[in-house]
Amino acid sequence: MATATLTAPATRDEGLIQELGYDDHFHEHHHGDKYQSNFISHYIFSMDHKMIAKQFLITGMIWAIIGGLMSLVFRMQLGFPEESIAWLKPVLGKWIAVSSDGVGSLTQDFYYALVTMHGTILVFFVLTAGLSGTFSNLLIPLMIGARDMASPLLNMLSYWFFFISGMIMFSSLFLSTGPFAGGWVAYPPLSALPQAMDGSGAGMTLWTISLVMFVVSVLLGGINYITTVLNLRTKGMSMWRLPLPIWAFFVTAILGLLSFPVLVSAFFLMMLDRGIGTSFYLSEIFIGGQALDHVGGSPILYQHLFWFLGHPEVYIIILPAMGIVSEVLSVHARKPIFGYKAMVFSILAIGFLSFIVWAHHMFMSGVNPFISNFFVVFTLIIAVPSAVKVFNWIATLYGGNIRFNPASLFGIGFVSMFISGGLTGIWLGNSTLDIQLHDTYFVVAHFHIVMGVAAFFGMYAGVYHWFPKMYGRFMNETLGKFHFWGTLIGAYCVFWPMHYIGMAGVPRRYYSFDAFDAFSHFAELNKFITIAAIITFGFQLLFVLNFFYSIWKGRKLTTPNPYNANTLEWTTPIETGHGNWPGKLPTVQRWAYDYGKDGREFISQVEPVSEDESPAH
């Protein structure tokens, strides 16, 4: 690689980096090879941020399939309670109860276990690790012009803690008493009393250990992301020149760092309640007619601690998606992002507000209604920065020369989902309306659209967009478009009807509605939702197929910058080795969004501002 400076630059960007780049004498050391010398250090215990990103992504995909399949199983039970699912017995074994007339149905205990696991897996393993783990790792060093993360070792550990966490959670599925079944929020007393239900024993213990490992992973990752963004930006890359995804990942990491330790504290007290008989969360309780020793604890205390993490957590999920979409929309609309600084300030505002709204999850938990007012006000204020972002995305698209490829379509789909789900958030944020709507399918519809589907759309936009950077090949565009339309229509078919069911007061988490006359006429709608869910899941398999096919057989990338984008990751060679840039580090001359300036379609961040150029944005 030392010869790289002697050969003629293959691209204009490469020439600019050779001429103006920052020489950190990287090529004088024996690098690269040691990182990628053998199979184990290259693919498994890799310290290269790009490989770690792929590890996060593929692990996240596996978890998404597991978590998605779980939802299909309990959706089948909800949609078709009379149909026999005895054919699932080879997989689920004793969790399928076969009645005397041969009809197999899901046992009630396992229904709750599946709902719990679906929530835990999707929120933490897929949409936290799979989304921010993947793209923070891939993009932070590439977009800020760094060789790697501040600490590649901690970065590797971050992935392996996530892996161990996943393995522990996975093993809990095979316990004879089943995995934890008290809901992904793990409220006491179900979580704090080992004898409360089957899953509360060993299942809950493994669940807690798994999540503590997960928190370690998030913190190691987050410490790295923050340090890297603050310390390792290349010359000229001021904070105000950072591409928006980096701002989003940076704020996400800060949110994680401030909120996840609180979850650990909550778990710590819970462990003491479970293990040595303290009463932080447990008040006077009878189980099976037997009075327990616990006196004077408060389950609400756990809810406060949990949601102090739990609410920032939903922004930990959605902010990276917002950042990714901002970049993807700008690149494919061939226009500068509208209101760059407003975008940054709204990310910061959302991050700040996310810490003072947690009790809106607890309006009906017996929280003082006057305190609720405070939380209502701040919750509704979050609509302001969110609306600023939505307005800016639409303004970015307006009048753009949009390329409709899977990445930009998913970006646009994200905006649609975020609007649909965000509007219902304004309803739910009112404590009075919440009296009717809390714990109904309305809530299920709201959060699935706004942070589940929307975050998935952001993730898909990112995967389609940066797949060439990851694997040097493109994903199949036609399949991608099928995937998009199937997912968009499918997701609305699944979650839109839930609003109506929810407004009618149908409670979430119930195993069956047969016993309630008021809800029985929703049976057909429930069937529709289940069928839509199965079809939508099928479209996701199309994506998985496309992903793995394209890794080996996709159309090859022929130029380093296929989208004519401005950001630094496209100035690296197609086969990006360890250290990212073979010679000098690029220096940054301008912000990331000079599209369509002075009649030029795009101007890379490494290109100096010329004298006759019109003033900066």
């Binding site: 950190d24 004498h25 990287f26 050391h29 024996h30 690098h31 040691k34 990182y35 310290m47 060789r147 790697d148 501040a150 600490s151 590649p152 070792l153 901690l154 913190l219 987050g222 410490i223 790295n224 923050i226 340090t227 890297t228 603050l230 310390n231 390792l232 010359k235 760092l257 401030l258 909120s259 996840f260 330790p261 609180v262 650990v264 504290s265 909550a266 710590f268 007290l269 003491l272 040595i276 008989g277 303290t278 009463s279 932080f280 020793d293 006196v295 004077g296 604890g297 408060s298 205390l301 406060h304 601690l305 102090f308």
Partner: protein
Amino acid sequence: METTIKTEMEVATRRNKVHPKKMALWVALVSLAMMFTALTSAYIVRRSAGNWLEFSIPTIFYWNTLVIVASSLTLHAALGAFKREAEGAYKTLISASFGLGIAFVVMQYAGWQQLAAEGVPLTINPSGDFVYAISGLHALHVIGGIAALAVALVMAFIRKLRRTPARQLRLELTVTYWHFIGALWIYLILFLSLQR
């Protein structure tokens, strides 16, 4: 591998005042602080709910505050000795810090026993349980710091003292962490004695 990372670090440091590893430690300390903020907030919330046993903090805890402050001072002096390459002083001071660290944990244990003897054993009332939980979690972090000190101690006796940037960085990171858990204890003891 090690050399590559270090080179990148040093390159980065030339342009930035704070070393990335120090920055990473500071960020991590913020997150640790959040953990204890959560516990003390939970304490306030739970206390206001009533059914709260009133008792006074064991006196050993106050004396122990002096121990951890003393250990911070000796460790800081050890860093000074390291920078002057005063090997004898360095060995003495690092041993003293290590000894004081161990003494702190032992005395915390004695403090718990005193608390139990005064009629507030575990699981009697959340007010006592909070004291055990908060000081226990803090003690775990002190033990983590002692592990780092143990490495410094062993290195002090098996390697000749030379002031290299890598070794100085390692010592500075240890010192920062140790000061942090000392300051954390001062916050906790003030909190526990004022929130009665």
